[in-house]
Symmetry: C2
């Protein structure tokens, strides 16, 4: 299992229609083959400047690679992520020693 | 639900006895009342410099506060975390709009 996570902050004002549109379109990522346990999250710690998080799990690296190359993911990154995300950090986890 | 996560890197060499000792003692955090779904993780993305992650969930803020104040947590932070962790980032998540 590989858990792919990204913490991020949008260029849009909090609560704006643009923010809602971004998050709604991101739901399309959940339907990409190989994506399991897709979650959209609010980041609530005051110890960092990120506002949101996405988390998803893949069975193995092949499933993760398939997601990265999938047209829906490629289009989302190009059309929404790059222009609308102010700052982000990707963290990928596997079980310790696994 | 509040998911408390921390990504971190130790001062110890990878694979060292000191690293194993730190991770073994961190297991004691899982037994603190209120801690659910405690996980120790390897951080495997090359897009950041963190080596490990811990993740745990709390039913609510009261459970999270109880963990922070618990003597086992306070002692772990004082005796192991502060002296042995090189760099870390805390990210806390709740379900979007929840």
């Amino acid at each position: 299992m590989i858990r792919h996570t990204v913490a991020f902050r949008l260029r849009h004002p909090s609560g704006s229609a643009e923010e809602r549109s971004f998050l709604a379109e991101a739901e399309s990522l959940a339907a990409i083959p190989g994506v399991e346990r897709f979650e959209q999250l609010d980041q609530v710690s005051s110890k960092n400047a990120y506002a949101f998080g996405f988390s998803m799990e893949f069975a193995d690296q092949a499933a993760y690679d398939g997601y990265n190359a999938h047209p829906v993911h490629v289009a989302f990154v190009r059309d929404r992520w790059v222009p609308e995300v102010e700052e982000f950090l990707e963290l990928d986890y596997v079980p310790l020693g696994g």
